[in-house]
């Protein structure tokens, strides 16, 4: 018969190392780390605001729609479009520069050469400065130094406006966003409009309510 050892009564002093182990465990925080995530996936930071995947989806939808507009699809030469900064009329602050850049990137990707985009924000100052250098002879002449530089103009303005309805109470919060894209010609005629809707609901733990 195997002998079973009778457990000794635990002394209070024996608890000290045990407690230390337990308490070290309590004091530790989440392990740091970095990983790649899909920008179209719901990220770890999930709130009820507009997130990267929302912008990606809205821009892709707008881009696919805009190239089917007859004024663009049937144009003899690809029309030039200038994209204005995203206007925010919602109740959520957003990085309008980032959203505008993302929108332009998605449109470039999906329009397959059927539309050209004006990017004065990216090039105007640099091109004007370079032209001045050419004309002054400080850099090699030729090119537009002799013929003059005429920046391109546009056929259409593409606007994007974010608006929304927000509600919050002790029961939770709800956000509705509408991203409205408009293509307007030089005579202020609305050529095309597309809308993208997002609705999110969230609830925090009772200890925050």
């Amino acid at each position: 018969m195997a002998r079973t050892r009778k457990p000794k009564n635990m002394k209070l002093t024996n608890l000290v190392p045990l407690s230390a182990v337990v308490l070290i465990g309590c004091a530790s925080t989440e392990n740091p780390g970095v990983r790649y995530v899909d920008p179209n996936a719901v990220g770890a930071v999930a709130g009820t605001g507009v997130e990267s995947q929302d912008i990606n989806a809205a821009a892709a939808k707008a881009a696919q729609s805009i190239v089917s507009v007859s004024a663009i699809a049937r144009a003899a030469t690809p029309p030039t479009v200038v994209i204005t900064p995203v206007a925010n009329r919602s109740a959520s602050p957003i990085d309008t520069t980032l959203y505008t850049t993302k929108l332009r990137g998605a449109l470039m990707e999906h329009s397959a050469g059927k539309v050209r985009f004006l990017a004065r924000d990216a090039s105007w100052n640099a091109n004007a400065a370079e032209q001045a250098l050419r004309q002054s002879g400080q850099v090699a002449g030729g090119g537009t130094a002799t013929t003059g530089r005429a920046g391109a103009t546009y056929d259409y303005i593409l606007t994007a406006e974010l608006s929304g309805l927000s509600a919050a109470s002790s029961a939770g919060q709800s956000e509705y966003f509408l991203i409205a894209f408009k293509l307007v010609d030089f005579q202020d005629l609305l050529v095309w409009e597309s809308q993208y809707e997002i609705k999110k609901e969230g609830k925090v733990s009772a200890v925050y309510r």
């Binding site: 009820t48 925090v204 200890v207």
Partner: protein, 410 residues
């Protein structure tokens, strides 16, 4: 012996069991020396201005559970010290942390436990602090001429002003938020939105007690004056389970500049104390009741143990009574230990450098004005402070908007 497992369980459940003389975080946890040293090194490496460093050392050393708190404090300190880029980063980080519905979820659940203090949860601020966070971020967007995002922040300031069912009339009633929204909307070209904001503001109960000239179509300058110290949180009730606020009486009750006088557009003590009952108040009350019940039960068991011991002493051969008395004594000690480990204390971490009042002076100043003199006044008209405030002209097409900030200590 059942007492020892109880103690071990208590130690596991209660991090406050730690004994240490080291630095403690705002949530009561020990900050290890190497972590503190690394935070100090990081602050030096990032060239954080010296007066702001204490905020950032705490931000970098006290873990994500206190990040929103220290970003709020550091952001406001940077704002007042005119380190606006740093202020924007802090406030943006605080907003991201506060709006995150997922992060800190485990600690939030733990905080419901009878044996875990509420302050162990990730700090996200009370509603007046959340509204203030958006309000200050909105001011910085105004300063950048980003009127769309400024308006978004002022709208958010109202949305975050959530109240309990017993204080519904005070939900979304930030008077300064609506006035700032009116200004931002007008500057952004949406006059109808501006008018709507002013109509909402006029309907607030706070509006009955103040006289604040609103922004108009000719307003081209905003002067923001903060006065006094914001609400101080403290725990009230038998076990400090009730969150209460106290505040010092303000000296400055009106400010004037360029012949325009105004009373405070916002009172943060009013906002803090019109929140109504929170869900967490029910949790804390429940913890307090448990603590009290266990305490009473422990006393009762102790009394029964003494009675049994007395019987044992009188009755010849009273070994049974002695055994019962011993058992009751152990049960009494165990019950009282569990009672002592029950933690109903309210979380009193606070955005402590908020002001008591915010004044908004909507002015029309001539082109080229780059500073303005502002004075504070007591109720009987005595001057409390006079300051020359630099004005920042907002760059951008079609705007000639100027903004300045001042802080009066009382």
């Amino acid at each position: 012996m059942k007492l020892l497992p109880t103690l071990a369980l208590a130690a596991a459940l209660c991090p406050a069991f730690t004994v240490s003389g080291g630095t403690r975080s705002a949530s009561g946890e020990e900050v290890p020396s190497p972590v503190l040293a690394a935070a100090e090194q990081r602050v030096t490496g990032e060239n954080i201005p010296a007066p702001l460093r204490p905020h950032f050392v705490r931000l970098y050393s006290e873990g994500p559970q206190n990040a929103v708190l220290h970003n709020m404090r550091g952001g406001l300190a940077a704002f007042r010290a005119r380190h606006f880029e740093l202020a924007k980063k802090c406030l943006d980080d605080a907003i991201a942390g506060m709006e995150n519905l997922i992060a800190g979820g485990k600690r939030a659940e733990d905080a419901k436990s009878d044996f875990v203090e509420e302050r162990r949860k990730w700090f996200k601020g009370e509603n007046y602090e959340q509204s203030a966070l958006y309000f200050y971020r909105g001011l910085l967007y105004l300063r950048d001429g980003d009127f769309g995002n400024a308006a978004a922040c002022f709208k958010r300031c109202e949305i975050m002003d959530i109240t309990g069912d017993d204080a519904r009339d005070f939900a979304g009633d930030w008077y300064a938020g609506e006035l700032a929204l009116a200004l931002a909307s007008r500057l952004n070209g949406y006059a109808a939105d501006s008018d709507a904001a002013l109509r909402r503001a006029a309907g607030f109960s706070f509006a009955q007690f103040v006289q604040v000239p609103p922004p108009t179509a000719t307003t081209n300058t905003l002067l923001v004056v903060e006065t006094g110290s914001g609400p101080e949180k403290y725990g009230d009730g038998q076990y400090n389970e009730k969150l209460k606020y106290r505040v010092k009486r303000p000296f400055t009750v009106s400010v004037n500049a360029n012949g325009v006088s105004t009373s405070a557009a916002e009172d943060l003590f009013f906002q803090a104390t019109t929140r109504g009952t929170r869900q967490v108040d029910y949790i804390l009350n429940s913890k307090a009741e448990l603590k009290e019940d266990l305490g009473k039960a422990g006393v009762g068991l102790a009394a029964a143990a003494f009675t049994a011991a007395a019987i044992a002493a009188r009755v010849d051969g009273g070994t049974t009574a002695l055994a019962v008395g011993g058992g009751l004594a152990v049960a009494s000690v165990g019950t009282m230990i569990v009672s002592s480990l029950t933690t109903p204390q309210a979380d009193t971490r606070a955005w402590h450098n908020l002001p008591r009042s915010i004044f908004l002076l909507h002015l029309e100043t001539p082109a080229g004005t780059d500073n303005i003199t502002v004075s504070g006044l007591t109720p009987d008209g005595k001057t409390t402070y006079t300051k020359s405030v630099p004005l920042h002209t907002v760059s951008g097409a079609g705007t000639n908007f100027k903004i300045g900030f001042a802080k009066f200590d009382h």
